[in-house]
Symmetry: C2
Subunit: 444 residues, 2 copies
């Protein structure tokens, strides 16, 4: 009986217990961005430590400035065999807007982007259960702040350099191809966040008494935000594109993961495309930075009308960054641009919320070959290479601090509506991920 069959049988035999643990894990509303959910995030890290310990790994929660890192290791293979650091996260995005979730979130109905790290843990636990030992060394680094900028892990990583030492990092948090084939992800964009609040008056004003007189902060805010991006979709902030490289033909040829206007329209039911003029969708999503208004709010949002000039207006912005761009430099350039363009007398509060840059890894990393072989056997389909338009905040840090390549895999589907109401990650793909990691461990 070959390895994949053996692990598949183990999975089916243990399915009730696997499902029970998995649903328990998903049910914890570990929203790292919401201070009200802090205890839930901690409960989720406790759950993982206990789950991994029960599975035979040496597991612990490492405190950080933010939420703890769940660390676990299985090092019986010894120093003559390679060590893989498997990275994932146990936190999720805020579930707001609640009214758009068809079924309540966190009900654990086989859904959530916490699913990917869970199958990777389960593969190692299964190896221990079936064979008692693994042919490679495994370390897990599972953080609680991936969805809110990885501050804790970022700060702690330099002091954990020895503990986390590995030959390669495997990030288990990516999408597969639409047909279920694996996409080996060789890089991701960076991401950094900012919040800007304009204050025109201490209190809301009457739009009749002061209309035509007071500068409405909503007006000032839309004027500034509209200036950030020009009509061709290009960010206008001076210095924003400094260091950004045009993709080479070689890169276009390598990254064959498909991305067409048609597929975007069909998969996401979006009609309005905002890509930079002259950039294909793939170029815009993988090789170009973005400026996104994730939230805007000022004044009255209730029913009917209320004739106020609000005292304040706020926007939450994030930029996706590509190699060559530095978060702090970009944040400073944007802050300078905003302050320069604000009407006289309007108060500006600008907060840089942190972020991390983009990273790229080499196709010649041995893990890439093992992963491709495993995925081909599990899915029956050849894998492709991809980059990620999204971000793995610590991807760049792992490269810099540990000095190793960072390879991404995953069986998410972009149509999972990740980060929006009704996430789902079905048991079919969960098992596929489980088998791929199991086989990869052997193939390496």
């Amino acid at each position: 009986m070959d390895l994949i069959q053996r692990f598949s049988e183990w999975f089916e035999e243990n399915l009730p217990q696997i499902k029970e643990s998995y649903i328990q894990f998903l049910k914890i509303p570990s929203i790292s961005a919401d201070p009200a959910r802090s205890l839930d995030v901690l409960a989720c890290s406790d759950f993982l430590v206990s789950f991994l310990s029960k599975g035979g790994l040496k597991a612990e929660a490492i405190p950080t400035d933010g939420f703890p890192i769940v660390y676990a290791e299985e090092m019986q293979a010894g120093p003559n065999f390679p060590t893989i650091l498997i990275y994932g996260h146990y936190d999720v995005q805020p579930v707001d807007p609640l009214e758009l979730w068809i079924s309540p979130p966190f009900e654990g109905t086989e859904s959530d982007d916490k699913g990917q790290i869970f199958y990777a843990c389960l593969s190692v636990i299964a190896w221990k259960a079936i064979f008692g030992a693994l042919p490679v060394n495994i370390k897990f680094c599972i953080e609680g702040e991936e969805e809110s900028s990885s501050i804790g892990l970022s700060r702690a990583l330099p002091s954990l350099k020895q503990k986390f030492a590995a030959d390669v990092v495997l990030i288990v948090d990516f999408d597969s191809m639409p047909d279920g084939a694996l996409a080996v992800t060789l890089g991701a964009r960076g991401c950094m966040g900012m919040e800007v609040t304009l204050t025109g008056s201490l209190q809301d004003l009457h739009s009749g008494h002061l209309g035509g007189i007071a500068y409405n902060p909503n007006r000032a805010l839309v004027e500034i935000l509209a200036k950030l991006v020009d009509s061709s979709g290009k960010v206008t902030v001076p210095g924003f594109y400094e260091g950004v490289q045009k993709p080479t033909q070689e890169e276009f040829d390598l990254f064959t993961f498909p991305m067409t206007e048609e597929s975007v329209r069909v998969d996401f039911e979006i009609e309005a495309l905002g890509n930079e003029k002259g950039c294909s969708l793939k170029e815009a999503n993988w090789f170009r930075p973005t400026m996104e208004i994730n939230g805007i709010f000022g004044g009255y949002a209730g029913p009917g009308m209320k004739t106020v000039i609000p005292s304040k207006a706020t926007a939450k912005l994030t930029c996706r960054l590509v190699p060559g761009q530095n978060c702090e430099t970009i944040a400073e350039a944007i802050e300078y641009f905003i302050r320069k363009n604000v009407p006289q007398g309007m108060k500006v509060d600008f907060t840089y919320q942190g972020g991390l840059g983009a990273y790229r890894s080499s196709i010649t990393t041995p893990l890439v070959r093992a992963l491709k072989q495993a995925a081909q056997e599990v899915t029956g389909k050849p894998s492709v290479y991809a980059l990620a338009g999204g971000s793995i905040p610590v991807g760049l840090l792992f490269r810099d601090v540990l000095g190793v390549e960072v390879i991404g895999m995953g069986y998410g589907l972009s149509t999972d509506a990740i980060h929006s109401p009704n996430e789902h990650f079905d048991m079919q793909r969960f098992k596929c991920g489980f088998l791929t990691v199991a086989k990869m461990i052997e193939a390496l």
Copy 2:
């Protein structure tokens, strides 16, 4: 003993009962714009009918398509004497944002812009109590939707033409001079509201997966809103200023109510002024129309960051209008402008929420003389003429349907922070209004 002294004594003698009724009236949260408060708005109209009936007037609630009109009359003077229709409203603006109210709203701590109509009612009740009869005929028309566009009264007015027939309309809802002298208000700007929602996708999207691809509705919205007004503060919508007249020197000379940059900065603690280039504050506030973003909201508004491209973004807009402008025409021009400027594929929902135009009345109306005389005696100060930057939605309708002049008075102060947290209307000015109306009835 002269009339003012007599009414003053009556007021002081009855102060406990007056205060009790007044506070009871203020405590009802009659927010006409909020469907959840419908029963409170109705309770407030019931309260007024009962209060006026107890005071000896023939009072009733007249049903409309919206909230009822409280109507009351005292017609014993007979057809040989003039009839004044006194207009006011018993509804208030939404109290949102609640967290900014230092003391809870509707606690009835001698505050609220419902106070003005209450003293006018009390003057007539006092006339009945003191003299048993009045030298003029009085009708009250007190509506429940002034703060939400007066739809009910607007639609009902033509059929109430006979019932409401009068020689002049007195609107009791305006500000006094900062020093307490009366401002006789000869006109007000109109006001109309719109809501626009842009939808880019059915669900919120991931700003990594779709960032650079999907057109963010927040971006589309700020681009469109920023286009509505140019950098000189002029509305750019074609046709917006059609029919708008430059004020004459005569008008500038007549309306001496003061309005300076200094007073605006000091009274409202605002630094950023948004008046049209080349317009004084008074011209901008009284003679020019506005385009105001009263509310804007799209995407994530919670703590921390959430990297979404929201599915929708909404803005609530109102325009203050001046004579020569028509609400529907302006709303159509704005809707056309928005639809023309929206990115291809973005869905637009545009709702015109109703509105009414501006009005102007003649300085030669006999009520103006009576009012000025009464106010001079009560306050000891000569009154001035003013226009209102705010709106009395039905001002224009009264002129058109009843064919009479519409004169405004009031003892509000612009520093009452009307329509924003911590409204207040103190008993001092309440009594001043009470005495002015009482004396005006005699002087007429």
